[in-house]
């Protein structure tokens, strides 16, 4: 019974809409409901002694929001900031966070058939945060549980994590 419940949950989860974005040559998908808005990159206020991928904090209409460069977090080869650099503002359960990505592709609904379980692989991404893979013709989407990824210890966003 529990097994059935789980598969149903998964089907339900898989039918969600995803926002897809690119980091280097990889394509990622995150739950669209976690996305608050997408905006251009403005240099944030640097925070001393923070990890390099935390670019600092910026002013989102009066709210102080930290900004994480996922390209640095995932060791992408280049991370330039120009007028086309994009920030996805996430509204997570406990905080608002901005993430810097190379580009935002589109919003798509992934049919359940196209959902594949991710094999055990050695990756820099928190294994827990990878929900699965989405195959769309010749494209492969890495489906992320962005909430888990951002709450991870290595993200150093929460106060209990050590510096």
């Amino acid at each position: 019974m529990t097994a059935m419940g789980q598969t149903q949950d998964q089907v339900f989860a898989n039918e969600r809409e995803y926002l897809t974005f690119r980091l280097d040559r990889e394509e990622f998908g995150i739950d669209i409901l976690k996305v608050q808005e997408i905006r251009g990159y403005e240099p944030p206020t640097r925070i001393a002694n923070a990890p390099n991928f935390i670019k600092g904090v910026f002013n989102l209409r009066g709210t102080i929001v930290p900004i994480v460069d996922l390209r640095l977090k995932f060791d992408c080869p280049k991370s330039d900031y120009d007028s086309s650099t994009v920030v996805i503002v996430l509204n997570l359960s406990r905080r608002i966070v901005g993430i810097v990505v190379d580009s935002v592709s589109d919003v798509l609904t992934l049919p359940a058939d196209n959902f594949k379980v991710a094999p055990d692989i050695d990756t820099i991404i928190d294994r827990d945060a990878v929900v699965g893979l989405g195959s769309l013709r010749d494209r492969m989407l890495i489906l992320l549980d962005i909430e888990k990824l951002m709450a991870g210890q290595s993200m150093a966003l929460a106060s209990d994590a050590t510096v």
């Binding site: 944030p44 206020t45 640097r46 925070i47 001393a48 002694n49 923070a50 600092g56 904090v57 910026f58 002013n59 209409r61 009066g62 709210t63 102080i64 929001v65 930290p66 905080r95 608002i96 966070v97 150093a156 966003l157 929460a158 106060s159 994590a161 510096v163």
Partner: protein, 722 residues
């Protein structure tokens, strides 16, 4: 019998009232507060119609609301208060201290009853019976001198009654009530419950009734017909109720004897005959013997009782006869509400939006500078207007969060009055600077510590009247509470002219508790000892204060608000506690400093001075700790560049500005590049979306929309100590 309807408690009970509960609770609280204030300032001998009417209106509004929402216990109690106040405002009886006291207590009980309803009716409701009884005793006033009941209602009919009701509202009446036709008999049952729930309303008995959709009751009550109808209206409409007064023709009623017995019984209860009054009777020898119900006052020796307020019953009666006041003519001037209620989150949202507007405006102003001013004259003028308007707007919006200290101060007169009675002391309470404004968030947090300080002053500070006379001081002690702005902070002082603190006793107690003290300690340090946990110098532990929990909590709470506490005392002459607080937690006067390309904000209140230094003025000690000589003092230097690892592009231009800051009693000199300016900044929380950053207390948004971190001066000072 449908449960749902019974629960709804009304013939038209389908309408959901719960959405209005919050408004009612707020209004009721406001009315009770207002009533308390008016009661406290009431001049007993010269009470005018306006004052009495005002108090009456408050009780009436609370009753009306409570009745509408079905809080019968509150409605019942306030109804009794209203009856007493009604007689007062019609000058049928004279106000006296006992009445004021009972009304104050009733207001308190109403508050707790309301609080219980607000919390969803959890817990035991406070009992109102004793109060209701006392109120009705007082309301009956002159009835005390009349010989015990033979004809209960007749005793009161002699007073002037301008109303059209057949019998005086105050007298017991026997009524026959027909209810119906009703679809649901539960409503008729609910009326019986009313009599059970509202103490003092009277007694009800079901009578035989031959119609199935009707109910017949026999009621013995002193409540007027109109008021009964009002109460019944919660359950059945007026047209469905017929009330017939059968007091005078008792023979008509079948169970006449039983009713008669009930009437006597009920009357005995409300009249509180001498036999049942034993516990409330004044002690023998008290000159006020003919006024039962004042007894509980006399227990407090030295209480500022006012003998002239106790008008002999005979005089009262004369007064009532010459002054018939028609109820309908009573001035019903509605006090216009000068305030509106808005949730604080809306205000905060407004503050945020205005902040955004200011930033946008600054951006526009900056971008327009490049334009040819001759060509865009109108645009420029418009931008200048926008600039002025946004600034005014920001100022006004910021001031919404500020509320006057009188909100806090106003709760103390009542508290001190009760406390002084309890302790048998005489205390005058003086307040100053009540209009001083403080952020709402701070006001809420400062109330408890201040309450504690004021109670302490009354309990430990001010001596008993005899002791004061022996010491050559006026019999009545004075407690002064004052508030004033001083620079960027507000200073609140609690001062008393009591016995002050004894240096020796504190030192002795400190030694007993194993604290490290010496006789040579300066006074200021000795006084600070009382903030140690578990420290109390009270010789007796009373239930007021002195259990040793308190001053340390006071200190901790105030420190948590970035405030400080200072004590000054002279034995035999009194003591003064000064609490210094920032004006608001949300807005701060800041000084922006530049290091490299970054901007940091310093709380202006902690900035002492700033000056330019030459590189050779900085000395090092041991392993690199730097000191700078400021006049005659060597001060540790904190290099912001190093603390915040600020990248530097122009290597050849070292920091050469020192900003001296003070926090937690010590000073350090911060080394920065530039002083950029002073401005009011809105303090933002970093932790809501990010985390605590070392040496940073918060963040703010600058005019250009960028975020600047606010330095935690306390942390920087602590850092320099290690």
């Amino acid at each position: 019998m449908s449960d749902a309807q019974q629960h709804g408690g009304g013939a038209e009970g389908d309408f959901d009232l719960t959405q209005f509960y919050q408004i009612f609770f707020e209004e009721a609280a406001e009315n009770l507060d207002l009533m308390e204030q008016m009661l406290l300032s009431l001049h007993l001998e010269t009470a005018d119609d306006e004052e009495l009417n005002g108090i009456f209106r408050c009780a009436h509004s609370v009753k009306g609301g409570a009745a509408t929402f079905g809080f019968t216990d509150v409605a019942g109690l306030t109804h009794q208060m209203e009856s007493l106040l009604d007689r007062l405002r019609r000058h049928e009886i004279q106000p006296n201290l006992a009445m004021v006291d009972v009304l104050l207590q009733s207001a308190d009980v109403s508050r707790s009853l309301l609080a219980r309803h607000q919390a969803g009716g959890i817990g035991e409701p406070p009992s109102t019976e004793a109060l209701v009884q006392r109120i009705s005793e007082l309301a009956l006033g002159e009835g005390q001198s009349v010989a015990p009941i033979v004809a209960p209602s007749a005793a009161f009919e002699s007073t002037v009654q301008p109303q059209l009701q057949p019998v005086a509202a105050e007298g017991e009446r026997t009524l026959e009530i027909m209810v119906g036709p009703l679809k649901d008999m539960a409503h008729a049952e609910a009326i019986r419950e009313l009599f059970r729930d509202i103490p003092g309303l009277g007694t009800i008995k079901a009578l035989a009734c031959d119609q199935a959709d009707m109910r017949k009751f026999s009621v013995v009550s002193s409540t007027s017909t109109d008021e009964l109808l009002d109460l019944f209206e919660f359950h059945v409409s007026r047209s469905q109720v017929a009330i017939q007064d059968v007091t005078k023709n008792l023979t008509v009623v079948q169970p006449a004897l039983a009713v008669r017995a009930d009437a006597v019984e009920a009357f005995r209860a409300t009249q509180a005959l001498p036999g049942t009054m034993a516990q409330d009777d004044p002690p023998p020898g008290t000159p006020l013997a003919p006024s039962p119900g004042f007894g509980f006052f006399d227990g407090a020796p030295g209480a500022p009782t006012n003998p002239s307020a106790y008008v002999p019953p005979a005089v009262e009666k004369v007064a009532t006869q010459v002054k018939p006041v028609e109820k309908s003519n009573a001035p019903l001037a509605q006090v216009e509400a000068a305030t509106i209620r808005v949730s604080i989150s809306k205000v905060d949202q407004l503050i945020n939006l205005v902040g955004e507007l200011v930033i946008t405006q600054a951006m526009l102003a900056q971008n327009s500078r490049a334009l040819e001013s001759g060509q865009f004259q109108k645009l420029m003028a418009g931008l200048a207007d926008l600039d002025r308007n946004t600034r005014d707007l920001q100022e006004s919006v910021m001031s919404i969060r500020m509320i006057p200290m009188s909100v806090v101060f106003s709760r103390f007169p009542r508290m001190l009055r009760d406390l002084a009675f309890k302790l048998g002391k005489k205390v005058d309470f003086v307040t100053m600077g009540e209009s001083t404004e403080l952020d709402k968030g701070l006001v809420e947090k400062i109330t408890d510590p201040l309450t504690h300080l004021v109670r302490n002053s009354c309990d430990h500070g001010v001596e008993m009247p005899e002791e004061r006379i022996r010491a050559g001081k006026p019999e009545t002690g004075t407690i002064t509470l004052s508030a004033a702005h001083q620079g960027g902070s507000i200073v609140i002082e609690v001062r008393d002219d009591g016995r002050g603190m004894s240096r020796e006793k504190i030192l002795k107690k400190a030694r007993e508790r194993g604290l490290d003290v010496s006789d040579q300690m300066p006074d200021a340090e000795v006084w600070q000892l009382i903030f140690a946990p578990g420290f109390s110098t009270a010789e007796v532990v009373t239930d007021v204060s002195g259990r040793g929990v308190g001053m340390d909590v006071v200190k901790r709470n105030i420190t948590a608000l970035n405030g400080t506490v200072e004590i000054d005392s002279a034995e035999g002459y009194g003591m003064r506690v000064s609490v210094r607080l920032p004006l608001t937690l949300a807005i701060m006067d800041g000084m922006s400093v530049g290091v490299g390309k970054e901007v940091y904000m310093l709380p202006l209140s902690s900035v002492i001075e700033s000056f330019q230094v030459k590189a050779d003025a900085i000395n090092t000690v041991g392993h690199g700790a730097q000191l700078v000589k400021v006049r005659d003092e060597y001060m540790p230097v904190v290099e912001l560049e190093r603390v915040f690892q600020i990248p530097r592009t122009d290597r050849d231009r070292p920091s050469d500005i020192m900003v001296v800051i003070e926090a937690e009693g010590s000073r350090v000199a911060l080394l920065v590049d530039d002083l950029l300016g002073q401005q009011q900044v809105v303090v933002k929380n970093l932790e809501s979306n990010y985390r605590k950053i070392p040496n940073v207390s918060g963040a703010t948004i600058l005019g250009d929309g960028k975020v600047a971190l606010i330095l935690d001066t306390g942390a920087l000072v602590r850092r320099s100590r290690h």
